[in-house]
């Protein structure tokens, strides 16, 4: 249906193409969009260039988009020091476990709630949605996690967040709109039970949404650091974003407190900081172009029921 519409629309644009000539307006639009796109790319090219330039070139402020005095010392020292690398590996593990458990929790909620016949459906839906709209807040949550002995525990980064009402809604509306009832009815009449229907009929048909939501979970976990800051003090349990945060925070405080060049250079050399930022950013930039279409799909399904 959407495809058809898209096609219809494309031919219209093509039709218009024949009618009007390439105008100043087109040029202006392309110019604006190009400039905006550049604001999304150039900062990272600049930082990448800085991260492999020599200290002197950076201090002379001569590095713009092209590295000068190319060397990989900063990256070498990141690997030598090892703490960022360790926290990178730790983050990967946390993200993997989080995504797997998150998808299980999400499916376990979305599938039953997508069944109109389920008795008590409204009540359970309310129970599972309410926390999204009303949170107890930071302090009660902190004390709760403390009582559960989860502070400074790897699982505090995983368990409290694996059930996401927002993702559950997206999955539920996908089940309801994209899996025909008749299919499940047929399986039911063939004697399949609910588990068999879920695993053999519904899930194989839901691969696109499973991919999308896995990505939502993974990127969300990878990017967040506030819970690290609230609940974790052990060095070995800090995720990469939090490490980067601490590194940058210490450098900016030094900068703003004195605003002096000399202090800045001795605190964290620009080059090293650029390298650390690139180290934490590159994974996202590398996988992102291949995955972004799944995200777009998720937003479209989510938009059906906001």
């Amino acid at each position: 249906m959407a495809k058809e519409k898209q096609k219809e629309f494309d031919t219209i644009s093509d039709g218009s193409h024949a009618i009007r000539k390439f105008s100043i307006g087109d040029l202006l639009i392309m110019l604006i969009l190009t400039v905006l796109s550049l604001t999304c790319i150039l900062p990272f090219i600049h930082l990448a260039a800085k991260s492999i330039s020599s200290n002197t070139a950076v201090m002379q402020k001569s590095v713009v988009l092209w590295p000068k005095g190319i060397n990989f010392d900063a990256y070498a020292s990141i690997f030598q020091d090892g703490s960022l690398v360790r926290s990178f590996t730790f983050s990967v593990w946390v993200v993997l476990i989080f995504t797997l458990l998150g998808m299980i929790a999400c499916t376990c909620a979305a599938y039953p709630l997508s069944k109109k016949r389920l008795k008590g459906r409204t009540f359970f839906t309310f129970l599972l949605m309410f926390p999204m709209y009303f949170s107890a807040g930071l302090i009660p949550n902190y004390l709760l996690l403390k009582n559960l002995h989860l502070l400074n525990n790897m699982w505090v980064l995983i368990l409290p967040l694996i059930y996401s009402a927002y993702n559950m809604l997206i999955m539920k509306s996908y089940f309801q709109s994209s899996i025909p009832d008749s299919l499940e009815e047929a399986a039911f009449l063939d004697g399949a039970n609910n588990f068999q229907i879920l695993f053999q009929v519904v899930l194989p048909l839901s691969k696109p949404i499973l991919a999308t939501l896995s990505l939502f979970y993974a990127v969300g976990r990878w990017n967040a650091y506030a819970d690290n800051k609230y609940f974790i003090t052990a060095e070995s349990l800090k995720m990469i974003q939090y490490k980067l945060y601490q590194l940058v925070a210490s450098a900016t405080e030094a900068q703003t407190a004195t605003l002096s060049e000399a202090i800045e250079v001795t605190s964290t050399p620009e080059v090293l900081q650029s390298a650390c930022i690139m180290f934490a950013t590159l994974p996202i930039i590398c996988v992102y172009p291949f995955l972004q279409k799944y995200f777009v799909k998720g937003v479209m399904i989510g938009a059906v029921k906001g």
Partner: protein, 311 residues
């Protein structure tokens, strides 16, 4: 269909017998929300106590509404509240229109390749964490060593570095613009989808009538996505009380406390950082309740306008 509806009327026992698998599945998410969300609600009672971490709930004194009275007399709270509201309104004002404008421009593009690449690039900031965005911003905007100031000085536009992130008014502008930048591409998705739904015949007819580009945008495209705009605007109004701790935190520094000090920061600093648990919780509760109310109002509002509700 009738058969399926009739199940609704069956007794719990029968329903459970038929669907016990489903109830079994539900146990997992239910256990999670009960342990990690509902179990936290009783902790809210500390807003009526003078909670001392060392004494716990049992040993702390009940003080009635005293905590709220203290909060509303607290100058820090008033400042945080004012900042939150002002910045959320400004954020909405500058961040909301941009995706619409971008979507309209993308829709006018005639080269599919160019359009695709542009979209992919514009979505990127949405996937970067606030830590990375903040770190990059500090690198680019430093007064003396940031590339933006270096280039502007080199080109003779300015004679001394602009303190983009270290003077509060400049900070406010930078903070808001970075927000626009972060969300502008991603926000277009929904509008572009809505534009796809507009019938091509309308454009054809307009073309035959000799409508120019601006007229087509104004009379066809914009009215075609009006309901989407309204729903999203209302949804955003529901978020006016919220604040993104990570975004504020990474952009914070001692020079810009005046503006950066918003509710999320207040709750963290009063609560975890200086152990005024009762006050922090009271502010959190206030924020949650007002937020909930705003969502309910937005939902009503959106339904009253004949749009889909949010709930």
């Amino acid at each position: 269909m009738g058969k399926w509806i009739s199940y609704e009327l069956q007794s719990w026992r029968k329903s459970f017998k038929r669907d016990w698998h489903l109830y079994l599945l539900l146990l997992i998410p239910l256990a999670l929300v009960i342990i990690f969300n509902y179990a936290a609600y009783p902790g809210l009672r500390m807003v009526f106590m003078d909670y001392k971490p060392a004494k716990g709930y049992a040993g702390s004194k009940w003080v009635g509404w005293e905590t709220f009275a203290k909060v509303f007399r607290d100058k820090d709270f008033i400042r945080a509240l004012k900042n939150s509201i002002v910045f959320n309104l400004l954020d909405l004002a500058v961040s909301f229109p941009m995706p619409i404008i971008l979507a309209l421009m993308l829709n006018e593009l005639r080269f599919p390749r160019f359009k695709k690449v542009t979209q992919t690039v514009l979505y990127l900031p949405h996937f970067l964490s606030w830590v990375i965005i903040g770190a990059v911003a500090y690198q680019l905007f430093k007064p003396t060593t940031g590339i933006v100031n270096i280039l502007m000085m080199k080109w003779g536009w300015i004679s001394e570095g602009i303190p983009f992130l270290t003077e509060k008014w400049h900070w406010a502008a930078t903070y808001l613009l970075v927000g626009v930048w972060q969300g502008m591409g991603w926000g277009t998705i929904i509008y572009l989808a809505a534009i796809t739904g507009i019938s091509g015949e309308l454009y054809e007819a307009a073309m035959i009538d000799g409508a120019n580009r601006m007229q087509r945008i104004w009379h066809i495209t914009l009215p075609g996505i009006r309901s989407t705009i309204v729903v999203l605007l209302i949804m955003n109004l529901g978020k006016l009380m919220g604040s993104n701790y990570e975004r504020l935190d990474v952009f914070g520094n001692t020079q810009v406390k005046d503006f950066q000090y918003q509710l999320a920061i207040y709750i963290y600093e009063k609560g975890l950082a200086s152990s005024k648990f009762s006050m922090a919780t009271a502010v959190g509760l206030f924020q949650s309740l007002v937020g909930l109310m705003l969502v309910l109002i937005s939902d009503r509002f959106s339904k009253a306008l004949g749009e889909d509700g949010l709930l």
